[in-house]
Subunit: 630 residues, 3 copies
């Protein structure tokens, strides 16, 4: 490992069964030895706490720790991983116990640089459960949130369909009903479920911190933030920094499952050109600074519907790309391909026969090239554009689909792609984050719920504000906003959404903008416009987008071409520099460095200014290659 | 409401929780006041009984009222609506109690014009349940229907696969078996389930009638009759008239979910041109005279996969269309869009901010145009063509699919569409209804089971009889008909179905009729022909349709072109006047009025005779417009 | 029956309810009479034991005999068939009791020629169950297989994800977990489930043999061998011969469900040209000699998504085809179409009205043509090509999908189709069968697990060995093979699979072979080649197929064209004679006879040598017809 250029090694993240063979019977010897060996070689250890895999003896003794499937009502048993319920007090005690024991043992170990809590929290749809523990805690959550049952009934609008409750113990989890439950009920449950994860995680962080030396940091390796059903900002708030597990090919195979062969084939070995970047930028936003890739895919994996090998150079490419987007470290998963159990088809840096795998040379190259990048303590400048995201609004969009063509994540991604295609760096900022000031352009693709903090942050911002449809559509308790959407956002842009229609993706209408026609589909709002300029209109001449002062309200989902052209104009207006790029070329700046990434199977020309000083590569970027310049 | 031209207001249909806060603790004050306010304004009140939404205290006290899902075996709990089991004696008692209490209070109220029982019975797949109550009652039903277990065994053919029972308590509900259960078992269960709904409903009607003044009528608002799994004729028999909830866009989005964009886009804002009419005519058939639209969609709804807004004019269009098809009243759902709970995205006549919504002016126009139509007490003349429908045959086709391309509803709809495209008015008549005499043309698209009443009605008819394939295929107990299909119908048309084949929809064969070729697919019968004329043949020359006296037997499903041409010929033979129409133009007569409906986005020419006196519009019908003439 | 030319009649296979009306209360009279009547007419009786349909009284008394659904955890109840659990000791006792009782009664009956055990074992996905009995027996199976829990933990690699057990009673069935269970766990369960079926069946065979006269043989009618999840070789080992139920249209409709209309329509009335043959050859391989068709489809059936009628002549065609592939008898299911219960739409030789059905004349013809074939005691010569199959490898491929485009059965079928298209006869040989010697060409399309017996058989073979990808990939306990795949097969072909990628079916790469390009997709292995000749290369020049001595290793799935061309070359190398055929013409030899089958709707030219002596037909084969020559 040392020879390859690695500096950190993560171990232990699923090892509960080997650490504690029966309740209270610990065996630390093997782990002591492993850490010693690694440390002696000059490697630093990241210790994973093993709470993602409670061993069988624990499940047998405390069966109430198991989660219950929200689709079937079936207990999700032992035999894979993540078989625990975030609402189980029993498990909280047990998980804290093993975490504290580990922290106690290694909290002052000189070779242990830091800690990874658990592993990929919420993976495999585990945020939600219909266990008895979840039911009991949800009732308590409601009592705590609403105070009185009358307040809850009022907040949820339970007068509708005679849904009023007399006391909190009448409330069920919102599943297994005849038709859809009250969206306010579901939103409360989603918030609750997210908070259960955060509560669990916070207890684990505390258990580590109680014993760990000050120099030992605590992180967690999240999966793509959009897929977990948890408030990632809350989840990661108490971490020293955030880590991310980067599997561009597997994630892209899932994302583009319905793409045509023509669309998919160019990217099946590189991943969608903007997907890893999306996650990198999202994680940097959560981390508020440097962050880690804790697991980088080094070859074909085992869990996607199709598992191609990366194109030659892509492991190096992804590694340097992570640094470009602000990473402090890129670790690979896994060191050696394991010849047994569930992941035996998941590639490693070494093959099962302990020979170097295909990625080896690329990692070697990346490790040496890192030296050329210079000081990486500066994460990145603030990007010129901020995209505001909000988990609660994502849950709202998910609960109230209204149109089959509307998905929170896809809406956000469309703006991101358009900006990246213009060569613009993007920051993701959580709604309510006070850091919006200073961004020339702030985009709010879809934010149904605008709470006080979010509103204040928007008001305190000083750039152009671009709102997509559905902004401010709902109150905090999932009612329609006072005085119609966008509710309080009307202070920023004087429109009133009087009606919404949703269309099939292939049956859209159009909008006209500066003399050209674009597609307007899937989600279309009819708006009444107060004192604002109409900047785009529907096919019947009705307003489709307006501008008032520094705020723009776009009332419909559109095609990529419209978004791109609108953003070109807004960048011009805000002096944000753009560099229109082909789909297979991407740019990213870090400090004084500019990185160019060629996703194409042929060479590309680096859009470097005359006189650029190349740190890596040159103006002719090889297939799947990279250039970095000052 | 009054100013808009409304005359009736329905209230109360989900209000149990507010009427009875705990068992026996009634609060009528708010409802008293509401009725007074409405009455004082000159509006008449339709009172909905609230049995579709038993409140939580009731579910808590009597958990055995809850239904059980036939797919999963899971109890369907509180939290939405329709969470009750039609077989629960407990619920029957409770539902009768609240209904009687309401009827007692308002049964002689001068402002209460009538009653709506429950709401959309059987919606959300609630006809069938696998509750303990359903099991117990099904066994009793079997004992009652068959008398002895030997008779049941014989009727079902249980000797097959050793399925014989020794006593009635051995019989299970026909779910959760290894492979398919006996179709006779399933048909018995479908009949039972339907009867449970009817029994429940009849008790509710009686509870109202016991207390209601003679001038107060009783109705029920059914959803599209084809989708409920209930015998609608039985369900509505004791009502004063039938009501229907008309959502053309939502229903069409579901119906045409697999249509191409080219097929769907022209109709996404109008609905399929024949779907609302199909339901109107079906409901008129059930109502045996005037009927109501109790809920007319006034804008985008919230529950279909895609929810477009209606094309401009369509709310007026649908309103007048309902009158053309015999409606006595069209009510809109809802008055004001509710800003909270499940239906907050369901449009109303007024927006959530209490301003008029888009439909407002159209309703105003329709209300005033109604005055031009004159006396609507004449519902309609008997139409020239009757289509005979039969719920039992629908269940048979559903239980024994045989070919994936055969669906009862689609078969009926194809004939209806062909007739409507010829400008012919159609009545739907229930199998066994003695009113078949007097129709020049009687069509039996698919009627697998021909019981005594149905046979007598067919014999008593005096027009041309057109039978589609599968006619008379089964006995009342789901065996093959004696002497092969069409069984007793052989007295009317001397054919014998010796074999059936089903084909993929895209792999059909052909039939030749009067020198032209048409598609014959999905369902094809081989027939032996006695003394009848062969009028169409398969590609191998075998008979595909025959005529004997006034009866025609068509042995295959065909394409639309064939059906149209056959119907053109039969109309000529029976002196039924046709007016071939483009897909976007439809006609309907009521009394001496003829209505023309333009579903197109461009103007259409009204097919009015020279000298027609226009009551509404003129010979040039505007886009989505209407013309009415004498 | 006699007049038609039938010789055997199967009866009784679902008759438990009529034989034993209550426990111990037998009624043999009706069966005695039936056998007497049949025998008196000169027909021989095949007696089916009725264990596929335990009667209701038995299920009521012993509810623990019912299986439990692996998808839902729901008990699979009475009301159809196959509602018993292979792990139930109670049922084993009961089933043995009824089987023995029947054998005792008819074991020396002169008209009873033989016995059919049960009926279509494992049909309707009944091999696997999550019953308490299955759980208990699986734990015992594990204890027996592994001896100690430490050995099981080691064998399965349970150290991964802390999956180690402390004792056998902690092991669950591998269902209802959060994500995928250990593949070794699943493979153990699949083996166990298969063995439960075999154990049950062996007990039934013994029960018959204990009482049956020596001249009475025992068979079982299997459904297509690929679909049962059971080791067919083990299941049929103790039978006198194997029978097969042949439904070419139903099976093809399922197989080609996603085919385009152009692909499907030519074969919708004939079945896929190679599917019945595949099953015939598979069953002959299991039977190690003559075999029976116990049920031949005589017209449209009732259970496929679409149920066309056979093309004219196809019932005769399938009958003679079965003899060409080595059948000793073809029986038809059923004699008379039953007018009630589940199968009333399943055609018979006679219609429900007891008139001859369409197949009658074809069966008559086939019966008389059989006489022309001469002595059928010679089953067939050894075919020139053997395809090696292995149920365990099929389970491995199913458990570890890795690429959505990889399916064991489809991989095997592709080789078979290519060979049949070259007019080559094929034998299927079970892995480990010592009979591989003497085959000029042995193909191993996919055999992940190579146990000692399989390896020895391969080594003892003397022809060319062609291995497809995934050969030798796994150990017996589902780990990656020692020293990388193909593990011990490296002794035969010196390659090392260093990486695997799987691709979407429509996004493949290519291979070059003898100067031409072919598709390489879905599954592609990177191989290191020792001392072998590279015979095909990927698009990047890397080796895709190698030959070493008599062994060839093909590292990728390919298109049909490549397989065909490779096989043409290998046949030339091994002096196997080929006759390239159009898709609608097939050949098969038996003894000195050559059969040609025309699947086309137009005539075809028989590829008979000059001077061939035609036994049936001539050189011009009619549509759907047959020619046989010496």
């Amino acid at each position: 490992m040392r020879d390859l250029g690695l500096r950190y090694v993560r171990i232990g993240e699923f090892a509960w069964g080997r650490i504690e063979k029966a309740e209270g019977l610990f065996d630390w010897a093997w782990m002591d030895r492993a850490i010693d060996v690694l440390g002696a070689a000059g490697l630093k250890v990241v210790l994973g706490t093993p709470t993602a895999t409670p061993p069988k003896w624990l499940c047998e003794k405390y069966p109430d720790i198991l989660p219950v499937d929200i689709q079937t009502g079936q207990v999700r048993g032992f035999g894979s991983r993540r078989h625990y319920d975030f609402s189980s007090e029993t498990y909280l005690v047990q998980a804290e116990r093993i975490t504290a024991a580990m922290a106690q043992r290694y909290g002052s170990h000189p070779h242990v640089a830091g800690w990874q809590t658990d592993n990929e929290l919420c993976c495999h749809d585990t945020t939600m459960s219909v266990s008895p523990a979840a039911l009991e805690k949800f009732r308590a959550y409601c009592a705590q949130r609403y105070g009185t049952i009358a307040a809850l009934n009022a907040a949820w609008g339970n007068v509708f369909w005679s849904m009023e409750y007399d006391h909190f113990d009448q409330i069920d989890l919102p599943f297994f009903t005849v038709c859809e439950t009250n969206p306010a009920h579901r939103l409360a449950y989603r918030r609750f479920a997210s908070e259960q994860v955060v509560r669990f995680h916070d207890v684990m962080i505390s258990a580590i911190r109680r014993h760990a030396a000050p120099h030992q940091w605590v992180t967690h390796n999240i999966i793509p933030p959009a897929t977990t059903g948890v408030d990632n900002a809350a989840l990661t708030r108490d971490l020293d920094f955030v880590s991310y597990d980067n599997y561009p090919l597997g994630f892209s195979d899932q994302l583009m499952a319905k793409a045509s062969a023509d669309e998919w084939k160019p990217f099946m070995r590189t991943g969608h050109p903007d997907l890893a970047a999306l996650n990198f930028d999202s994680v940097r936003g959560l981390s508020k600074g440097a962050w880690w890739v804790m697991e980088q895919q080094p070859g074909p994996v085992n869990w996607a519907p199709h598992n191609p090998r990366p194109a030659p150079g892509m492991v190096r490419h992804w590694t340097l790309q992570a640094f470009a987007h602000g990473a402090a470290c890129v670790a690979y998963f896994r060191w050696r391909q394991v010849p047994f159990a569930q992941e035996q088809m998941h590639a490693g840096l070494r093959r099962p026969d302990d020979m170097p795998a295909a990625a080896w040379a690329e990692v070697e190259q990346a490790a040496s090239e890192m030296q050329l990048l210079g000081d990486l303590s500066v994460v990145a400048a603030k990007s010129p554009v901020a995209i505001v995201i909000d988990p609660v609004s994502g849950w709202v969009d998910d609960i109230e689909r209204q149109g089959a063509g509307y998905r929170y994540d896809a809406v956000v991604f469309q703006y991101y792609r358009a900006l990246r295609g213009l060569g613009v760096d993007v920051d993701f900022v959580s709604a309510g984050d006070a850091q919006l000031a200073g961004y020339p352009l702030v985009i709010v693709p879809t934010m149904a719920v605008v709470d006080d903090a979010a509103f204040d942050a928007l008001q305190a911002s000083d750039g152009i504000l671009l709102f997509g449809p559905r902004a401010g559509a709902k109150t905090d308790e999932f009612s329609m906003s006072e005085g119609l959407p966008p509710g309080r956002l009307r202070e920023l842009v004087p429109v009133k959404v009087t009606s919404v229609e949703t269309l099939r993706a292939d049956c859209g209408g159009s909008i006209a903008y500066k003399g050209a026609e674009y597609e307007s589909g899937r989600w279309r709002e009819t708006i009444e416009v107060g004192g604002a300029d109409i900047i785009a209109t529907y096919e019947d001449g009705a307003p489709a987008a307006v501008q008032a002062g520094r705020s723009i309200y776009l009332a419909t989902l559109t095609d990529d071409a419209f978004l791109t052209n609108l953003l070109v104009d807004l960048c011009a207006e805000t002096d944000v520099q753009i560099t229109p790029l082909p789909p297979t070329l991407r740019l990213r700046r870090r400090g004084e460095l500019t990185f160019a990434f060629n996703l194409d199977s042929v060479s590309a020309r680096a859009p470097a200014p005359a006189g650029a000083e190349f740190v890596i590569g040159g103006s002719d970027i090889e297939p799947y290659g990279i250039a970095v310049w000052r």
